[in-house]
Amino acid sequence: MSAVLPAPLATTAPTPAGPWRRAWRKLRRRRGALVGLAVVLAFVAMALFSPWIAPQDPIATSWSAIRQAPSAEHWFGTDEIGRDVFSRVIWGTRASLLAGVVSVTISLLLGVPIGLAAGFIGGWVDGIISRITDAFLACPFLILAIALAAFLGPSLTNAMIAIGVSATPIFVRLTRAQVINVKVEDFIEAARAVGNPPLRIALRHVLPNIAAPVVVQATLAIASAVIAEASLSFLGLGQQPPAPSWGSMLNTAKNFIDNAPWMAVWPGLSIFGLVLSFNLLGDGLRDALDPRQR
């Protein structure tokens, strides 16, 4: 018998990867998420290399070229004081990317731990946190953001802080609700029974399981943050002129929608593109972090 012997079994056992490593591996396999990641990285590159990519000075005005339609010289046309829209869209990536990402990062860094604490510890700690969170949530988001931004002073940085802090209560609430839901699951009971300290349970067992809605909300929040920055800059509290941001470009464009629609189309599409790619990425992350999925 010329039986082909099976290849010898590998002698080393595969290293047991932690939930985070597994997640990364799963992420790599999802196509949609990779596309999202690629686009996000493209935007980041656009932001970092704007001085070299933008064909013209984004703040150079030109009286003779006001509100011109797209042409060979100005690919996206010009705006209300003759600036090149294409260059402004490229340069605007920085402000919008920062506005979206930094604000949401602040919200996550503040909101998730607080929510975890509230949900996990329970009792009077939960009571106080919940009451204060409810109070914040009861105030209109825009009012909170305006008050904070006005207090801190008009600048992009302060606008990001204001938006981030104002959006924190949503994450607190969401995290807390998820934690409470998951707390009663069997595997948490099991982890506790085995003798894991609460912090380890929180980080290793609870967090990956509640990550899904938080990640989804975070990616959605990026969209609202970019638009919130627009509202704030409209009120003089965000990115100061003449530096561009997609949101403030949209704001100005709405006054010229009849005679210069190109002023709105490109910043609008850029915001859409950014939001879409973050959401694709977020989807991938969500799937990757779900321990129940292959």
């Binding site: 005005t61 003089g236 002129p241 003449p242 709405k254 006054n255 929608i257 009849d258």
Partner: protein
């Protein structure tokens, strides 16, 4: 079968007949929601639009800014200019039926002067007392001659409310105003609408062709215009300058352009606070002159306002009778500007220009920044919402500030509060004893020619220091349905309802 159908049709027609002659309503779109509708307490421009239909005044102004009779049919100054005798119109009643007479005028003037929170107190300050001579004649006694008084009486200070209603309502009068204009108050829903209906006993009822007036505040200019185009409004004020050109070719709409009596300018801190001395712009008049010379006003009017503005360099437009021809609008001169900066020792001055968040002001700031760069200026822009910027101006916590003024019929209204020492609207800190003397003099003289001579002198003095760089006078831009006729284009930007007709 056919007979009953015909009967049914006739019955329907008969039932609907009364509705054939529908009440005519004029729907006006405003750019803001007016504040309180009490002539003594009112403080906004847009409130005056509603007042022009609701509350008659002693006088009105016409297209040439000349005083016209309204509730007062004539006036006479005493020889020493310290007494103004007014002859009042007879047969006028307030919306509640009360008679309008000299006693009512006395009551109103005193109310304007003494009501807590009254914004007319300063406007009528020179009026020391009011005497009722007879039912149709009243005498205003002044502490000192004050020629702008007639112009004041052609505005809110001359609006007359029903004494009975005012006394009954106290400070809540503004919620249900009772005046003597062609339309009386029906209802108001904050930020939604103000509804007025025709007052049948109006003294000039023949000239009123509407039964109802509805004012709707719509702050966004694009939305306001869309409403007009969609047929939901008949008239809108403050059309965006970028939209007006296209409307010319729309057969269903008509437009009006009126040069305002106000202005748009840049206010500079030259002495309001310590900040003035810390910045070359505030310290040195040469730097300010260089700044002015590096501006191309025609270019500004073109780029910022789509040419819907008249270039100027004073508090009144060059077309105004009181414009000082001895201080003409300077042409752009970069070479001279650079030379001045060299002389002043600051070839690249840097300062922060505060710009309110209206779209016009933001554009203006950007264009000014670009224009002055050529002469070496480094202008930083700080956008500020109105309340914050006002506070900054009042405290002197700024270097330069884009500020517009809605304007008053008498040039004194554009001048005194701004350039008089320590006056409420003097944000620049300009204070010159000789200018103050001239300002007071201009108030005391009655002859326009003599006043003009004084204004010329004031212009020369003030413009040398350049506390305010006046840029241009914007056009009031109105758009309305082509069916509307009788629109009077008066430079204060307020729609008059007398003579307005809407063809069906």
């Amino acid at each position: 079968m056919k007979l009953s159908a015909r009967l049914l049709c006739s019955a329907l027609l008969l039932a609907l007949a009364p509705f054939a002659t529908q009440a005519q309503t004029l729907r006006v779109g405003l750019a803001e929601d007016p504040d309180v509708l009490d002539p003594s307490l009112a403080r906004s421009f847009v409130g005056r639009v509603v007042f022009s239909a609701l509350c008659d005044k002693l006088f009105d102004i016409d297209e040439k800014l000349a005083i016209q009779p309204q509730l007062a049919t004539g006036y006479e100054w005493s020889a020493d200019s310290k007494t103004l005798t007014l002859k009042l119109r007879q047969g006028v009643t307030f919306h509640d039926g009360e008679k309008f007479d000299a006693a009512a005028v006395k009551f109103n003037i005193e109310r304007h002067k003494t009501m807590p929170g009254s914004n007319r107190r300063g406007e009528l300050a020179p009026v020391a007392s009011v005497d009722v001579v007879d039912t149709n004649t009243v005498k205003l006694n002044l502490a000192a001659p004050f020629s702008p008084l007639l112009a004041q009486l052609a505005d809110r200070a001359g609006m007359m409310v029903s004494p009975k209603a005012a006394q009954a309502a106290g400070d809540k009068f503004g919620l249900k105003p009772v005046c003597s204009g062609p339309f009386k108050f029906v209802e108001r829903v904050a930020q939604d609408r103000i509804v007025l209906e025709r007052y049948p006993q109006y003294w000039n009822a023949a000239a009123i062709h509407f039964d109802k007036l509805v004012y709707t505040p719509i702050p966004d200019a694009t939305v306001r215009l869309s409403n007009l185009k969609a047929g939901q409004l008949d008239f809108i004020e403050r059309v965006a300058s970028s939209d007006i050109a296209k409307l010319q070719s729309d057969k269903k709409l008509k437009t009006s352009r009126i040069t305002e009596i106000g202005y748009q300018g840049i206010t500079i801190n030259i002495g309001k606070s310590e900040k003035a001395k810390q910045n070359p712009l505030g310290r040195d008049a040469r730097v300010r002159e260089a700044f002015e010379l590096s501006l191309d006003r025609t270019g500004l009017a073109q780029v910022v306002m789509d040419k819907e503005a008249t270039v100027g360099n004073q508090w009144v437009a060059p077309t105004n009778a009181y414009y000082a021809k001895n201080v003409p609008v300077p042409k752009r001169d970069i070479a001279r500007a650079k030379q001045l900066l060299k002389e002043a020792g600051v070839p690249n001055p840097s300062f922060t220009l505060v710009a309110p968040t209206t779209s016009d002001a933001q554009r203006l700031a950007l264009v000014v920044q670009a224009m002055t760069r050529e002469a070496g200026f480094d202008v930083k822009i700080q956008a500020a919402e109105f309340a914050t910027s006002l506070n900054m101006a009042d405290k002197g916590d700024y270097e330069a500030y884009i500020l517009a003024w809605s304007g008053r019929a008498d040039p004194d209204g554009n001048l005194f509060s701004f350039h008089g020492c320590k006056q409420p609207l003097n944000y620049t800190g300009y204070c010159d004893a000789e200018t103050d003397k001239l300002l007071n003099q201009s108030r005391e003289l009655r002859d326009p020619a003599e006043r003009k001579k004084v204004f010329d002198q004031i212009a020369a003095r003030v413009m040398k220091e350049r506390p305010v760089i006046y840029l241009y006078h914007r056009n009031w831009l109105w758009a309305y349905t082509a069916r509307l006729s009788g629109v009077r284009e008066i430079p204060d930007g307020l729609l008059r309802v007398t003579g307005l007709k809407l063809a069906s």
